[in-house]
Symmetry: C2
């Protein structure tokens, strides 16, 4: 890791900057994983899909398309992103695929959804 300080301010605290760099470097993997999760949740449609799965347990693409008032392929492509990130899994019943949140991912989304309530109160 290159630890080069270019800031020329007299007040610049080089030790602080180097410390920050090392911290980030050590946590790089965690940041990548969290960024991935947040970028998936940071979309109106996908956040609603995640919320609906949390609330309803499981839903199929067709239901989600109805609820979200959008085309089935559009929903399906969002579902794929969420699935590729390992956040949901599917269960087949005949022609219908039911998607649900993976139990090991619910904790972080629960804390995110809690903030919805928080926002409702402050807004």
């Amino acid at each position: 890791m290159k630890l080069e300080i270019t800031c020329t301010r007299a007040e610049a605290n080089h030790k602080q900057l180097l410390n920050c760099m090392e911290k980030l470097h050590k946590m790089e993997g965690s940041f990548q994983k969290l960024t991935k999760l947040l970028s998936i949740a940071g979309n109106d449609v996908r956040l609603k899909i995640l919320y609906l799965l949390e609330e309803e347990g499981e839903l199929c693409p067709c239901d989600l398309a109805d609820i979200l008032k959008m085309s089935v392929p559009a929903v399906s492509q969002h579902i794929r992103k969420i699935k590729d990130a390992g956040i949901i899994t599917s269960r087949r019943d005949g022609q219908t695929l039911y998607y649900s949140l993976n139990s090991d991912e619910t904790e972080i989304f629960n804390s995110i959804f809690k903030s919805i309530e928080l926002i409702r109160k402050t807004a």
Copy 2:
């Protein structure tokens, strides 16, 4: 609000779908605000900026550019996004602008940052 069900599956639970639509409709504003927050945090650079501000209290664009090893204008443009969302504010000291998290926004980010630790353990 148009409540139209197009799903033709025999098993489709229309009451459930209508209920979901109403819930989403009532929470539309909260979803928008939360999506905005998450889309801002769902970027590697911005998540790190937010984390660094949380950890260090305040930092200037120049410091952040050093720590993140990227150009000052690139950092500045990320800062602007975060600032436009009302998440941070600036304090001027001479030529230097110090940015810090707004206190009313720290709660949600704290819960997000906590999940970094969670991820470190599970990964």
